[in-house]
């Protein structure tokens, strides 16, 4: 059915509602390659307006699609008709409590700006998704965003203490506590992290903060074999050093970046690892030296340590240039954020090489090796129908490989539309049914972000 335009405008104001085709078009995509147009886009001012919109959706039976900065990779915020609810007007940092090391923010606050704000208190909010310059904290909570620092600091889930939210039936509830400890009732807060906009719209977010690390050291190490790189990573952790970042680039990635930049990367190496350690200055010198030593003992042929911010930036250059470098290989890519126990990384990357040969595709692997989160980029020519099909087939086989290695098909991007055909493979029929029952209990009319996660709707994928 079509939206009750005037009732929606009565809630948010005419100036906060879009309905013209040109305007709606702007809200038809996210960072996936899928598109779908809403019937209307509302920009509510607060929890009360969101609650009123959701209640209206229940009485008039239209779907609502929560949307933050739309930087998601799996189409989780894409509408299918219905009403898109954008939370970017709720963008205040309500409180930073330095003594209790907590902060209360609204969902539209930009992740990176929040990090800068807490830094002024000597505090640190670690989750660092690649999109942090424009992603919102509401979106980060909805997707349980990760990032390179997860190996030491964990993901969004690990910093969330509580929420104010609008349930799919329109009630406003508060969950969680202002303290690390709190065991009163079910953990609704953590049920909501990663619920991808299907169980509620967040209107206030309470997070914990930690003291900012005093200093950081960066180094790179090139390894002749994948196995030796992973051996080094395990040995570093065993030496009680938890680097804040352990990024791995496989040979295909190194070659792609070197072809792009010509900066003398070790293209003969099977893997290059970029490591950072952070903490008190007094331990860093020793830790950095020990990391280098462990890498060499594991067979690293070349190590480089940054002695200045400028050198650090140079060491990061290769890692940061991967995306533009890949664009030169093929215009299209399927970027899968598969994750395996870190000791299984060599098996994963070797299986992926075999997969690439089998389907005559270029596949490059890089990512957060410390937590086994390997971004697998299957390159294809968007104009070449055969290559597209082979890439899609390779993804399906990749997921089978990952699950056989006791991994997960998504470490940080989520399910949304892109991975909904595959979720049952990972969580099982009964597991999926339990999730569906929770969805139905909280959203009996299936009003909130329908067609996602549990519904393998391939029509989007071909869109």
């Amino acid at each position: 059915m079509s939206l009750p335009f005037s009732l929606i405008e009565a809630i948010v104001g005419r100036e906060n509602f879009l309905k013209s085709p040109e305007e709606l078009h702007c809200y038809s995509f996210d960072a996936s390659r899928m598109r779908s147009v809403p019937e209307g886009v509302a920009f509510p001012a607060d929890a009360a307006q969101i609650s009123a919109l959701v209640k209206l959706a229940n009485t008039h039976r239209f779907a609502v699609y929560p949307r933050g900065a739309a930087s998601g990779m799996v189409g989780a915020c894409l509408p299918r008709g219905g009403l898109t609810i954008v939370t970017n007007r709720l963008n205040r940092i309500v409180e930073i409590d330095g003594d209790n090391m907590t902060a209360t923010v609204e969902p539209g606050v930009i992740t990176g700006e929040f990090q800068k704000a807490v830094a002024q208190y000597g505090l640190f909010y670690p989750p660092d998704p690649a999109s942090l310059a424009f992603s919102t904290l509401g979106g980060n909570v909805a997707m349980c965003s990760g990032g390179p620092r997860a190996v030491k600091y964990g993901v969004t889930r690990d910093y969330l203490l509580g929420l104010e939210m609008v349930l799919p039936t329109g009630e406003i509830i508060r969950t969680g506590t202002r303290t690390m400890k709190g065991v009163v009732g079910y953990d609704m807060t953590r049920l909501m992290v990663g619920s991808e906009g299907t169980l509620g719209i967040f209107t206030s977010i309470l997070v914990r903060l930690i003291p900012a690390p005093q200093s950081v050291r960066t180094l790179t190490a090139a390894f002749p074999t994948l196995e030796s790189s992973v051996e080094a990573i395990c040995a570093i952790l065993k030496a009680r050093i938890i680097p804040s970042t352990i990024e791995l680039m496989d040979q295909a990635t190194l070659c792609a970046v070197e072809n792009h930049l010509h900066i003398g990367l070790p293209v003969e190496a099977e893997a290059m690892v970029l490591l950072e350690v952070d903490g008190p200055e007094i331990v860093l010198e020793g830790e950095a030296a020990r990391v280098e030593e462990v890498c060499r003992a594991a067979g690293a042929t070349r190590t480089e340590a940054a002695r200045s911010e400028e050198e650090r930036s140079r060491l990061w250059q290769a890692r940061r240039s991967i995306s533009p470098a890949l664009g030169r290989i093929r215009p299209g890519k399927l970027n899968e954020d598969v994750t395996v126990p870190r000791t299984r990384i060599p098996e994963l990357v070797r299986s992926i090489r075999t997969l690439a040969k089998k389907h005559d595709l270029t596949i490059v692997c890089f990512g957060h090796a410390g937590d086994g989160n390997i971004h697998t980029n299957i390159m294809f020519d968007t104009q070449d129908e055969g290559e597209r099909r082979r890439a899609a087939k390779a993804v399906e086989e990749l997921f089978g490989i990952v699950l056989a290695l006791q991994g997960t098909i998504s470490g940080e991007h989520g399910v949304g539309i892109a991975k909904s055909p595959f979720i049952e493979q990972e969580v099982g029929k009964e597991g999926l049914e339990a999730m569906r029952r929770i969805k139905k209990a909280l959203d009996p009319l299936n009003i909130m972000n329908p067609g996602k996660m549990f519904v393998p709707d391939r029509t989007f994928l071909d869109g």
Copy 2:
């Protein structure tokens, strides 16, 4: 209805089923003061048997009550007739994976024994509930156990990666991933932590481990005022030092322990704080000195640092002797694990003093000040009906005070039966209704641990 004894015996074997009154009596209590007798007690061997028992419960409509070591404080495992299912035969440490720093355990493994086992790998499982010498990991997950180390290391929730479990409808599902990152579907793992046996029976538990800290330093500081002790705690955290333990004893506690032990405790102080820092040896000397300095700057009148394991043990003596010392004041106590943001601790303790005067009771406060978790012990004579009633009234008022201070009525004990009359005060009517809907979705016949958490059943309390 009465239990189908022979069908239960057919599942677990006659030797693993108890039904005589004498035997049942042994399973009628936990660490709360409440009692209630089951109709039968089964000791299943594995997930398949638990699944069969739960399916039988659904077809024959009897209640099942999961039970670990029964060390819980709120009656969460107490039966009301029905079948108690004890998980202590599932007691294997299935795997400790040193390279990936994970472990798979069965629910009946004793927390302390598991910690010793991982220590042999140089690894560390931080959650340290006071009952760790006999509590089980299954119970810890069900209750989301905390402990003194939470201020630095978090609680059970923060170490849980995945579960194998039997749903209230009998299906066996697997949740979570072997990796820090994993965002496929709802976070069923964290929904289950702290669900108090109402949403499932765990049959396998996957946890992450961290490297064991190299060393530890212990010190105590006595403060003339509560405010100065909390000021010191905030200043230590601001100095980027996160102690692994910050235990506070208020004046009433100090007096009680001193009367018991006569070891020269500073009874004139309003608060004594016991602090531990752990980590690399190279930073500890400096950190311990800095902690002492900060305490003195905040007004500490007396500080003591342990230079040996023997001295450390001496410093812990007062903290460890609180329970026996309290027993000398009054035979009965209501031990409430309320938690407030740490800056509100002085207000909390002062309000509690007023409360004690008002109701003519002795109330002693001690506990985990770093995370604001203050164990509030309302002492009473079990034979004195008037004192009992006044104590119960004081608890109700205490919860009001705590919620007004933006705290939670339970930081680590949970709701169970003891706190079920008060849960709505904290989570709100709509919040509670959302939890009830989840319970109903996963347990439509209300088979699993009924009468707990959401059901303010005062008949238990008077039992």
